[in-house]
């Protein structure tokens, strides 16, 4: 989930904070301090996150495009300049553009807006933007809600009382509401100082940037893993089940399936599964402060050399071309597979299916998947030539069952022509002739289109009179028999117009000892 940091660099951010102590801070310094803390956290615990930095006043500027290089981000932060007034709407539009250009509209993003809560005055102020939000024409729409799934975190370098004294708080709350309620406003508690800004950013980190740790399990084989980006809670049907489902920290493999059988399934999200080493105290190697780098590298090396189940699983999945089905929670599954980033690099990846008992129609109900060895007969065949997947649905779809559609005249004409074409080739085509005839008869009966039955009967009769002298004598018999049967059906008499009934070829002396099978 990439992050955009949107930093207010208007003049009001340079207002000094009144402190008794010796040093004098500007609000901007506090903002930079908080963001430094965030960047440090990401660099150590969340380093695969892409972050970009946008500064705004009346204009906005992309200072650092999406990057994992937190030094560059920090440097840009340190060299921040001061500009004029706050104009949030344009900046949010900028964020929207920046994200869409880089990630499209399906990738969820987090926007961290850092501001002092002085949201401008007059035209271009947030108040003005919100007042006119309903009077927009199509091309000047308010940028919220963002077209991509998003969370908007507002970090106020101000305390709640200060914001409530003006309408700033109301305006910010309205902003979150406009984003579909996705987001949160953080304010500082107590006096504005380094400590309170730290605690505010600490809350954001806990909320949005805490790494997701889990145990990957395959029977008794286990591995501690970090799942990145962390899986977010999902709501399937807000009406029937409004409580969002979360991925549990125990990821249990239930079995294995060939890639060809799982067949590019649709997924909610994709995540890297990175094995992590957990030392005996339960502290994780590599997440602590970086003051003891030497020791850390040596422990990392140790971790690299002790066998890890993730690596074994990854290797075998890759070699065998299989995926592991993994249970993420009650009635929620995902798959683990090897994903190659390049020729050399590959990784263990986890994709989440839609929560529910049957996320993939071609696998059927997940709870009904059991070990193949329990089946009476090996469903994969003794030589691996078969597969129990995909599961066939109970009813065929229209395109797989030769349905009759006469909405366009051409559909009807084609069906009539097929009958006539076969009629000319009687008796060789007796079977196809009656098959087509019965298809037409059934549809005509269902649609209440008796007139068509009469018409086709007449066509067949005429066909009979036009038969050349060389024609097989059976042809004439079959044609007049078929015509007569259609006429009877067109009367609607239940004896002849039953839907399930078929017209069967007439048994003649020429048809070779009753060779004309019933259709």
């Amino acid at each position: 989930m990439p992050t955009v940091v949107l930093l207010d660099s208007s003049l009001s951010m340079t207002r000094p904070v009144s402190v008794e102590g010796s040093e004098e801070f500007q609000r901007k310094n506090l903002a930079v301090h908080g963001l430094t803390m965030l960047f440090e956290h990401m660099a150590t615990n969340y380093r695969l996150e892409f972050t970009s930095l946008v500064a705004f006043s009346s204009l906005w500027e992309l200072l650092v495009p999406f990057s994992r290089d937190y030094n560059t981000l920090q440097e840009a932060l340190n060299n921040l300049e001061d500009y004029d007034k706050t104009c949030l709407e344009a900046a949010l539009q900028g964020v929207s553009n920046v994200v869409q250009q880089e990630w499209g509209t399906s990738c969820p993003c987090q926007v961290v807006l850092v501001t002092d809560g002085a949201l401008g005055i007059g035209r271009g102020s947030l108040r003005h933007s919100l007042q006119t939000v309903k009077q927009r024409v199509d091309d000047k729409k308010f940028p919220l809600p963002f077209p991509f799934p998003s969370k908007l975190y507002v970090m106020c370098i101000a305390n709640a009382e200060e914001l409530q004294a003006t309408d700033s708080m109301d305006n910010l709350e309205q902003l979150i509401n406009l984003n579909g309620g996705e987001g949160q406003i953080y304010t500082m508690e107590g006096p504005l100082c380094l400590k309170s800004v730290q605690s505010m950013f600490g809350k954001l980190i806990d909320q949005a940037y805490s790494p997701f740790h889990a145990v990957l399990r395959c029977g008794n084989l286990t591995s501690d893993v970090q799942v990145f980006p962390r899986p977010e809670p999902v709501t399937i049907d807000e009406e029937v089940d409004p409580i969002p489902k979360t991925v549990q920290t125990d990821l249990e493999i239930v079995g294995f399936i060939e890639i060809g059988d799982i067949s590019s399934p649709p997924v909610l999200s994709r995540h890297l599964v990175l094995p992590i080493a957990v030392s005996k105290e339960g502290d994780e190697i590599g997440t602590g402060a970086t003051d003891d780098t030497e020791e850390e590298t040596s422990t990392n090396q140790m971790a690299g050399k002790s066998p890890n189940f993730c690596v074994l699983l990854h290797g075998s999945l890759k070699v065998e071309g299989m995926v592991a089905l993994v249970q993420l929670g009650p009635d929620w599954f995902g798959m683990l597979y090897s994903q190659a980033d390049s020729k050399k690099k590959s990784n263990l990846m986890m994709s989440l299916f839609d929560p529910g008992s049957e996320p993939l129609p071609w696998l059927g109900r997940m709870s009904q998947l059991g070990p193949a060895s329990d089946a009476a007969e090996n469903p994969y065949g003794e030589d691996d030539s078969k597969s129990p997947f995909p599961i066939q649905p109970k009813h065929k779809r229209s395109y797989a069952q030769n349905v009759t559609v006469w909405i366009k005249a051409s559909g009807l004409q084609t069906d009539v022509q097929k009958i006539l074409r076969n009629a000319k080739k009687l008796p060789e085509k007796t079977q196809t002739f009656y098959k087509e005839l019965n298809r037409l008869r059934k549809a005509a009966l269902a649609f209440g289109f008796w007139e068509l039955l009469k018409s086709v009967a007449e066509l067949l009769e005429r066909e009979c009179t036009l038969l050349p002298d060389s024609a097989h004598p059976d042809a004439a018999f079959q044609l007049s028999h078929a015509a007569q049967q259609l006429k009877l059906a067109s009367s609607g008499d239940s004896k002849y117009a039953a839907f399930e009934q078929n017209i069967t070829p007439m048994l003649t002396d020429f048809s070779g000892g009753g060779g004309a099978d019933r259709i």
Binding site: G304, P307, S398
Partner: protein, 708 residues
């Protein structure tokens, strides 16, 4: 998405009164072959469909598309109304298919023009439709049952589509009033019943059908709220293709569908008999599917750029995607963000059926966004699964997971002797298969629970790397290893296991070499009898892990205990002696990394295994039981200081050169795999053609164990 939205229940009410027998006056020429015939034949008069036929075939087309795209959870109740009500199916899922409806419609037949028009009315049908919407569906029932206390979250909404021929706007209003009144009445009734639910929201869609060439007596009207529960809209449509177009638009609106036209489909065409050339041409096929398949276009506002307007149905838009070669293969796992069932608009046309048959035969097609300039973007894929065709949405934007650290850089990434092939085999043995709904075993476990249970059994003792194990590198142990993990053993299985054990005893008697890993060690490695002791211990560990499963599993263990080389007392004595040796051995070899301890002693090895397996406690117990077990973990802590001792300290002073050489040799030995010959060599002399002597076909330890 909400499952119990208005589109969960659709009641079709089709007017079957005498006036519906009237001709639509759209003429269809059936007699098309005349031009190739002998002259002088008078062509037959064209046929014309009745209003009834038009209404039926268009409603069937609506259902066909609906069932193609939503085979479940979107239900239709089909009602025909004349002097009485004919309800052709129920809300039951098993009744939801067009064949069943067609059969029922054939039984109803066309309207009888001679029936008394006074007693016929579409009102009967509308009343029945409201009653039917109050009836609970199996999905609503199931949801209410599972939600228990919050059963009121299950909503009851529905839609009535009425196909009729109305007399006037006043007549239409009368129909609407009737529906409104019936809803109020039925809701009161439903409030007191378990199998009925009051209607919370109902959409009435009145379609007035009139013959071509006539003026309509009913005016179109947009959707209007008649009450908090009922909204109504009126469509006045000419019979024939206009009606078909209207219902096609409606089905798209009602079920959130969108249209995609696949363009540039290469198709070999066999033209009619007169033109007998095989030529290839490019065709277009229009498909309908859930509109979320276009979500990326809709959100980014690219819909107009990507698409063009549909050719025949005027109102709606279609997105054009280009057929793309080369095709994809089935073993590729695409990053797919959605898969939506499709239905061809023109299901019987040759291009449509060519495309669908191509896909149904198991091939997939990638689709590309047509762009005026720039690189090509593959955004979708058509693929069939079990006779159903899906439009897959492929991710075509930059991935947030690009350039991740390779797995070889992380934990366990530098270990090179994982049992990859063995685990692959393990995965094949633990493949899943669907079981019928009723299949629960004696312990009432669902198949998926049984699958987890099987994985648990199969992994009770499963060393991850080759140098951690002896028995899994031995062909001779395979029969036992495969059987012992089973939930139940037959007497025959026990016999096979016993035979395996006897076979091992035989090997020991003949002093056959074992594939003990000596990677990294210099010199001979453990002696032959020591090798066998390691092997027997490991085998016991494996079997003990399963001894609780059944009495027959116990018998296998008994067999091993009975057949093992040394009686326990002697073993005990020997062991005490050996421990001293061990210590020396250990100090000689320490300083190496943990995973290489496997070769040092079996006790070290088992300890390593234990550490890795989380289930430490049970493991310890198992091993404690063994007469030959190493001492419990806590008694013999692996000291960190011990690790850092210089190698071979116990053997007195060593020169710096020796230290250095040892270090380099060690480092080098890690970088390559030792020659199989040198591994089993005695005094650096390897015996050639060993395999000729080995009757058992035992495999010399080798990565991957090709002969297994």
């Amino acid at each position: 998405m909400r499952i119990f939205s208005v589109s969960h229940k659709t009641a079709f009410v089709v007017d079957h009164c005498p006036y519906m027998a009237e001709s639509s006056r759209q003429l269809i020429e059936c007699d098309m072959l005349t031009k190739s015939r002998s002259q002088g034949v008078i062509p037959l008069a064209p046929v014309s469909k009745s209003l009834w036929t038009c209404a039926i075939e268009c409603s069937m087309e609506y259902c066909r598309i609906l069932y193609d795209v939503y085979p479940t959870k979107k239900l239709v109740n089909y009602i025909v109304s004349d002097s009485e009500v004919h309800i052709l199916n129920s809300w039951k899922q098993e009744n939801q298919n067009t064949q069943e409806l067609m059969t029922a419609l054939a039984a109803v037949g066309p309207p009888n023009p001679r029936q008394d028009p006074e007693c016929c009315s579409v009102l009967h049908g509308l009343v029945a439709a409201v009653e039917s919407l109050c009836k609970i569906t199996e999905y609503q029932h199931e949801s209410r049952t599972t939600l228990m206390d919050t059963a009121d979250r299950v909503a009851n909404r529905g839609r009535i589509i009425c196909l009729t021929n109305a007399k006037s706007d006043t007549h239409v209003r009368m129909l609407e009033d009737c529906v409104l009144e019936t809803i109020q009445e039925q809701n009161k009734r439903a409030a007191g019943s378990d199998r009925l639910m009051p209607i919370q929201q109902c959409e009435l869609v009145l379609v007035h059908i009139y013959p071509q060439g006539e003026e309509t007596l009913v005016s179109d009207r947009q959707k209007k709220e008649l009450s908090s529960v009922l909204s109504s809209e009126v469509h006045s449509v000419r019979a024939g293709r206009y009606l078909a177009g209207k219902l096609n638009v409606l089905v798209q609106q009602h079920f959130d569908l969108a249209s995609t036209t696949i363009t540039n489909i290469p198709m070999k065409v066999r033209l009619t008999e007169e033109q007998h050339a095989n030529t290839s041409a490019n065709y277009d096929v229009e498909l309908l599917h859930h509109r979320d398949a276009h979500i990326e276009f809709i959100k980014s506002g690219d819909l107009h750029m990507a698409g063009s307007t549909s050719r025949d149905s005027g109102l709606k838009e279609t997105v054009t995607l280009k057929w793309c070669t080369p095709r994809t293969n089935s073993v590729e796992l695409h990053y797919c963000t959605g898969a939506y069932r499709i239905s061809p608009v023109d299901v019987n046309s040759r291009p449509s059926s060519c495309l669908t048959n191509f896909l149904l035969n198991g091939r997939s097609v990638l689709l590309e966004q047509p762009r005026k300039s720039g690189s090509k973007v593959i955004s979708h894929m058509l693929s069939s699964h079990g006779g159903e065709i899906f439009l897959h949405v492929l991710n075509s934007t930059r991935s947030t997971l690009e350039d991740p650290p390779s797995i070889s850089e992380g934990c366990g990434g530098r270990v090179t002797d994982y049992r990859i092939t063995d685990f692959g085999e393990f995965m094949r043995e633990n493949r899943l298969t669907p079981f019928p709904e009723s299949m629960v075993d004696a312990a009432c476990r669902t198949p998926v629970e049984r699958a987890k249970f099987q994985l648990e059994r199969h992994t009770r003792y499963w060393p991850m790397i080759i140098s951690q194990t002896t028995i899994f590198n031995m062909q001779a142990v395979v029969p036992l290893a495969n059987l012992i993990v089973k939930d139940t053993l037959t007497d025959e299985d026990v016999l096979t296991c016993q035979k395996t054990v006897y076979n091992l005893v035989d090997m020991e008697r003949k002093s056959d070499p074992l594939p003990i890993s000596t990677a990294g060690s210099r010199g001979k490695g453990p002696k032959r009898d020591e090798q066998y002791r390691i092997m027997w211990n490991e085998l016991e560990t494996l079997v003990k892990a399963h001894v609780g499963t059944s009495e027959r599993h116990q018998r296998v263990l008994d067999c091993i205990s009975a057949c093992r080389s040394k009686p326990p007392e002697e073993e005990e004595r020997k062991k005490r002696g050996r421990k001293r040796e061990d210590k020396e051995d250990k100090t000689e070899k320490n300083g190496k990394d943990t995973e290489e301890k496997g070769w040092t002693t079996d006790s070290e090895r088992l300890k390593g295994v234990m550490e890795r397996e989380k289930d430490e406690q049970s493991e310890c117990e198992i091993i404690k039981d063994s007469p030959d077990s190493p001492e419990p973990l806590n008694k013999k802590p692996r000291l960190a200081t011990e690790e850092q001792q210089p190698p071979e300290k116990s053997k007195g002073p060593v020169s710096l050169l020796t230290l250095w050489t040892n270090r380099i040799t060690q480092a080098n030995s890690r970088k390559h795999q030792e020659f199989a010959g040198r591994l089993s060599s005695v005094n650096s002399k390897a015996e050639l053609y060993q395999h000729l002597k080995e009757e058992n076909g035992m495999d010399v330890h080798e990565n991957g164990k090709a002969t297994r």
